[in-house]
Amino acid sequence: MKKIFSLLAIFAIAVTLSSCDKDEPETSFKTDFAPADTYVYTVNSQSGDVSLADGCSVSLKFDSNGNASVKMDAVNLGGGVMVWIDCPDEKWTIDTKTGARSIVIPQTPARTAGYTVATVTNLTIKCLDRAIDGAYLPALQITMTVDNQYNVRVIQRSMVAFGETSVTTKRTGDVFTTKDTYYGILLDRINMTADVIIRNAKFAANMPAQTRLTVPDVPVTLTATGYTLSAASVVPIAPNGSPRPEYEVTDLTATGVYGGRLDLSFTVAGAFDLSARLSEDGIIGNN
């Protein structure tokens, strides 16, 4: 009898063991961003001027021991001011709210174009590794203050905003909400316009999702906290390049706060009123 119970006891351990299975995803973490990937948005706290300059190169390194390095070249603050930042011995953590890798540098010197030293304070870098619809699309957000005068934000030229979209059918008053629809904002600094790219667009529950609708060339106005978009009437474009006049977008307005929320609204085909509460880049999470 004892031997029987001994055998059974052995199995008390075995029964509690769990099996494991997993797929083997292939991942890569982008740590280098070219100037063509970014813009530099600067608010001069003394003059109140707001500028949007061409981007800078950003090189980030992370190791498994929590060590990090930051290198940013030719950060254009507007008004002829440019800085270079090199911080080789920093630490990185995971932002518990968004899952982004985060580096916070309270203060660091930076070289200027004239080889003087500027002071950079509150340099915060957040980098989110993600794939969207099967495509690798990382999100980068950098903020800092230079010489207590320039409040600087390095943004991506192509931003992605997620959140909740509500669509009201004017005729019936029915409201359809979804979190599957997300938006890309592709800024053109030269023309000060943006393409608003609507992904997985659905304006009613029984409507098949549109993979991508692009609302092109929407005028952009910079503000002290971000930007606004406004367009009276635009015909969106399908991925194959054909116009989609049946989805004409009218009364488009958007207010974006860098590091905060994007509120977007427009009317589609004169029949559907859409409003969306979004957060840029998915990093902030302020829906």
Binding site: M1, K3, I4, L7, L8, I10, F11, A14, V15, L17, S18, S19, C20, D21, K22, D23, E24, P25, D133, G134, D180, N200, P208, A209, Q210, T211, R212, L213, A238, P239, N240, G241, S242, P243, R244, P245, E246
Partner: protein, 746 residues
């Protein structure tokens, strides 16, 4: 109480036929002839002494009931359901609510020790079956992957058991015919060989109204060569090589709306299969060592009118070459009250498949351009050609290795057993999908419309997916012998079952179609890995059972109650919308409980009465597919009840030209079966009546038989494709006659 038991069981069966004699013939025949069966290699040969729910169909019953395929065992073993539909490629086996329709099987199949790895190769005719063993409940410890629901082992006749010539000729309804000839000989006292040839053909039972062609017509041929060698008292060697070729026009799917089978494109299934299994056994003074080596090859082609409509929507072809090796090494031993089994198993399987999908005119119009133009009326499109080919090619190498051990210890009437298997498997999928087509966009805002642009549709996607799984599979049993014989016992068992994960390549046609639509701006992109891959399915099976006998062994039977908790159950679904391919999903959690009863009673030498009944209540505990919540609903395709009953009466005549005549009546019942997760469509319980009269004279026997004598109309399969519902009807009333010749030389 014992006297009341046979009366109670008899009252369960309103028709009985002696199809089951679970515990009468099998143990002695196996042990005395030293046949090399995998069951006897891994555990005691006598099934009724084991703490497991099992059913044995003996050679006599196989002959009397004309069983030539595994599918014909359906319902004979309680809670076992193997519907016949589609083609030889479809072998969906359900046991206690656990089953599978595509990809990995839930029930394993061994034929002469060869473990068939691919469920698509399960359905073939086998002549001269010696016995069939059906185990219900997880057999994962000893038999590994894909035996979560159970195991079916088929053994063919050995030349050591029979020497002579056997022949069969049969003709029946639908111009169905079978011919087999087998020769069995002992070349020396230690060496026996048998060679069996078989051919069958049928016109099928259904017609395609579109072209009045036979649907379900088939011709199949096979050759089996068995070599059994006993070089010494300690060594046994057996090799079984088999080749089978099957050609079938298949898929008699009837539209629910029209009630007709009516589709325009060709459907067929062709398969060539080669298997070879080598079993070597050495019995030493302290332990026994055995090895089972197998090779399996399949070359098949399934071509389908995938919409099953008279319009040209699309067709699918699946051409495959697959080969597999398995190796099992088993050691068993006994020391006093302690018995043990240990082993190692490995396999490698590689499949190469081409799977082109061709859209026809209606398919392009309704599924692509029409769908697009509905939402883009100002800039409509026209496809360049009236056909559209989406081509895919896959290779899926899979390999696995396992170690297992089982120990049992007996004290007086009590025996406890523990077993454990560590099972590792790695599966890969290399895919290459391609298309080269195009369409023109027109500007319809002007009159007449002008060409706006031409857009090429080019896809050349390659990818690799991998997954690996590690499973620990335990089993604990306790049994108590309460009667005078070892076959009278009660038992408790708990075991873990496992069905491997993998990749459903049939979903690629949907993936590509949606990819094309996404390129055009409609639909969401499919994540290939998310749609095609599925995780392992796991279950815990708790069971209590009893084996009993009475009336000096004239009554034997078994009963069991069970509860199964299943996680990540793999289910096939047809997604909503206009897609047609099935997807495999891990459906959350299900649970199944029920009971099984089976008994055989031979009150006299002239009567054999048999009954079996299975009850299963299988439901989703959690299943939400993102659109609907099916929690609390019945698991589809798994019957709630199975019923079998039979009676045989043998009347000796003693005439010069006729020794005896036997009459057999049988009844099978299955249902209810729900066809969908929403439980909106079902096949109610139905019964099928069969009967046969056998005239026996020496080496000759003539059977005249009928099946489904009441002409019951029932369905064996249901699915929805592109919003259309289809059913496969069960076989109608059939008649036939079979002549059997048995010239035994020793």
């Amino acid at each position: 109480m014992r006297e009341l038991l046979p009366i109670a069981l008899l009252s369960l069966s309103f028709f009985s036929a002696g199809r089951l004699s679970a515990d009468v013939a099998e143990p002695d025949s196996v042990l005395s002839l030293r046949e090399v069966s995998v069951t006897a290699l891994k555990q005691p040969a006598r099934l009724s002494v084991q703490p497991v729910a099992s059913t044995t169909v003996t050679a006599d019953e196989v002959s009397r009931f004309n069983i030539v395929t595994m599918k014909q065992v359906s319902e004979i073993a309680p809670n076992l359901y193997i519907p016949e539909y589609g083609s030889r490629m479809t072998s969906s086996i359900y046991v206690r609510g656990i089953g599978a329709r595509i990809d990995q099987p839930a029930v394993g199949l061994n034929v002469d020790n060869v473990p068939f790895l691919n469920k698509d190769n399960y359905d073939f005719d086998i002549v001269d079956i010696d016995r069939i063993e059906v185990f219900r409940g997880p057999q994962s410890v000893l038999y590994g992957r894909n035996t979560m629901g159970g195991l079916i082992s088929i053994y063919t006749l050995s030349p050591f058991k029979y020497q002579g010539v056997r022949a069969t000729g049969e003709y029946g309804s639908a111009n169905s015919a079978k011919v087999s000839v087998g020769g069995y000989a002992l070349l020396t006292p230690e060496l026996g060989m048998s060679l069996i040839g078989y051919y069958t053909r049928t016109d099928g039972f259904f017609k395609n109204e579109y072209n009045n062609a036979d649907v379900g017509a088939e011709s199949q041929g096979s050759v089996r060569w068995k070599t059994a060698w006993r070089p010494s008292d300690a060594v046994s060697v057996e090799n079984v090589a088999a080749v089978s070729v099957s050609r079938q026009s298949g898929y008699p799917y009837e539209s629910v709306e029209s009630g007709r089978i009516n589709y325009n494109d060709t459907c067929f299934y062709r398969r060539t299969g080669v298997t070879d299994g080598l079993t070597v056994k050495w019995e030493g003074p302290h332990f026994t060592l055995s090895g089972i080596t197998s090779f399996q090859y399949i070359n098949d082609n399934m071509t389908l009118d995938q919409d099953f409509l008279p319009e040209r929507y699309f067709t699918l072809t699946q051409r495959r070459h697959e080969w597999a090796f398995t190796q099992d090494v088993i050691a068993t031993g006994k020391a006093g009250r302690y018995e043990w089994t240990a082993g190692a198993f490995g396999f490698y399987k590689r499949s190469s498949m081409g799977a082109p999908v061709t859209f026809g005119e209606q398919g392009i119009e309704n599924l692509i351009t029409g769908h697009y133009n509905k939402y883009s009326p100002y800039y409509p499109i026209a496809w360049d050609d009236d056909t559209f080919l989406l081509d895919s090619y896959f290779t899926t190498p899979t390999w696995g290795a396992a170690l297992y051990h089982q120990s049992s210890y007996s004290v007086d009437r009590l025996t406890a057993s523990v077993g454990l298997r560590l099972d590792y498997e790695r599966a890969s999928l290399n895919y290459h999908s391609m298309t080269n087509a195009g369409y023109t966009i027109y500007n319809a805002t002007v009159n007449p419309p002008e060409v706006f642009s031409h857009v090429p549709v080019e896809i050349d996607d390659r990818g690799k997916l991998h997954r690996h799984d590690l499973q620990l599979l335990p089993r604990i049993t306790v049994s108590y012998r309460w009667g005078a014989t070892p076959s009278e016992n009660v038992y408790l068992s708990v075991a873990k079952g496992y069905k491997a994960g993998g990749y459903n390549t049939q979903m690629f046609s949907d993936v590509l179609q949606q990819r094309v639509m996404a390129m055009m701006g409609l639909a969401m992109n499919y994540d290939v890995d998310k749609i095609v891959s599925y995780r392992p399915e796991k279950s815990w099976n708790w069971e209590a059972g009893v084996h009993f006998s009475a009336h000096e062994g004239r009554l034997r039977g078994s009963a069991a109650v069970f509860y199964i908790d299943c996680r990540d159950q793999q289910l096939t679904m047809f997604p909503e919308g206009t897609t047609t391919g099935r997807i495999m999903t891990n459906a959350g959690k299900t649970r199944s409980y029920g009971l099984e009863v089976a008994a055989v009673y031979r009150p006299t030498d002239r009567w054999i009465l048999t009954a079996s009944y299975g009850l299963t209540n299988a439901k989703f505990r959690e299943f939400n597919n993102g659109k609907s919540d099916f929690s609390g609903n019945r698991v589809p395709y798994a019957p709630a009840n199975t019923l079998f009953g039979g009676v045989t009466y043998i009347q000796p005549l003693g005439l010069s030209w006729l020794d005896n005549v036997s009459i057999t009546c049988s009844a099978r019942g299955v249902g209810d079966i729900y066809w969908d997760e929403g439980n909106t469509v079902k096949q109610p319980f139905y019964g099928l009546l069969g009967a046969s009269v056998r005239l026996n004279k020496g080496d000759y026997a003539l059977d005249i038989w009928g099946e489904n004598l009441t002409g019951t109309k029932y369905s064996t399969f249901y699915f929805v494709s592109m919003g259309n519902s289809f059913l496969q009807r069960g076989r109608p009333r059939t008649w036939g006659a079979t002549i059997r010749l048995n010239f035994k030389t020793t």
